[in-house]
Amino acid sequence: MTLALAGSEAAARLDKSLAAGIAGLNPDSLLVKSEFLFDIAAFLKDEPGLNFNYLVHITAIDYCDYFELVYHLVSLKHNHSLVIKTRCTDRKTPTIPSVVSLWRGAELQEREIFDLMGINFEGHPNMKRIFLWEGFQGHPLRKDFTDGS
């Protein structure tokens, strides 16, 4: 059985310098500040005791006030999992650091989020629409999206 780490459990094992990046602890997830996201992700990946080498998926949710990004991580070695979340309040040009350099698997998923949710990922090698065509108005998964026709 994959052991799901609680937010507090993961936070306790984080490096001290990264403690400032924690924004909240949930029983099933760890909420981090978006500017610390990359550093914390890198730490989670490289720390031998945690070794989250496998990114299950990324998704984004539009809560109208803010966007929430959800990262599901798994360690194939230790068979435990962790959910980290981060938030982005800017609706006009939401920007989140990209984790492609850590996990290649994020490449297409970040493009998908950019396409459907309109969140820009800083440092992504090929940030452009994936499913919809160039010139499509709006981002469909946002709650305020209305179809032109």
Partner: protein
Amino acid sequence: MALKTELFVINLGPLHPSTHGVFRMLATMDGEVIVELEPVFGYLHRGIEKLAENRTYKQNIPFTDRMDYIASMSNELSYVMAVEKLAGIQVPERAEYLRVIMAELQRIASHLIAVGSLANDLGAFQTPFLYMFRERERILDLFDMVCGQRLLYNYMRFGGVSHDIPDEFLPALKKLLKHFPGFIAEYDQLLADNEILLARTKGIGVLPKKLAISSSASGPVLRASGVKWDIRKADPYSVYDRFDFDIPTGSAGDCYDRYRVRIAEMYQSIRILNQAIEQLPSGNVLNKVPLRFRPPVGEAFAHIEAPKGELGFYIVSDGSEKPYRFHVRSSILINLTALRDMIIGWKLADAIVTFGSIDICLGEVDR
């Protein structure tokens, strides 16, 4: 004297005989060799995730069918598991077994198509493909018996399955299982003893272990690269922990290993099915769920080992009848992440084979 040659751009797809649907590969070629490749998605993007936000939970089951339409049962299973996790619904034991039976039958059916169409991509004039289809029809007959549909079943429900299996089902399934290993062995002999097939698949489209993990590959693609990771074992769901089966893995991560892993997985599925039939308890198959079903506020992620990889559903509920967010962890889209690395530097013909060996279904890639 060096000849001056020119690169040219060629569009493989979106309607190409071997893109398995509508997928485009924008290939820059130097003669026969592909030097740059850009996969283009979205030709089947129907906006399922958005549409699902405007339908009730139950209405979304048919949508999941239409994602990976080769393996509908697996999609349904993953979705109903996510919602059950969200709402804390219990599933009767008999229903769990039926779900496992359906999911494993679906895995065989899906692998049959994967292997058959790989042979088609290799240029075998449809013969292996049609043999596979003949066997798949037998499995479709069983599904037809259970739910009256051949392709998109709409069989699973929150709290069980829509109805019990008819009396003729088990004898028919047993008959199929008896005959099936022989068929796979014969088929495998036809293909794997063929020198041309070996030459065309061995060492082609290699996905190294490190890249496979880093690019979040899953399913047979990951296992062919030598990673022993199967959700059924690593994070057992339903009643998979009661069955005895192995996880076949490859070592080289090439097209041939992916083919081998799929063939071996079919044998394992047959093993699971045999055990499931033996253990199948009697009883109720559907727990009552209120008609106007409203799960509590929260979120849930459930994942299963679908035929093509790890398929997950991430559902966010705001307490209403409709999901607030309906996200699919598409196994195939993520498996395609490393496509470019696997193809660049190889010839056009290899690109087609590599692409075919990943086993994709555009319904789930684009959603």
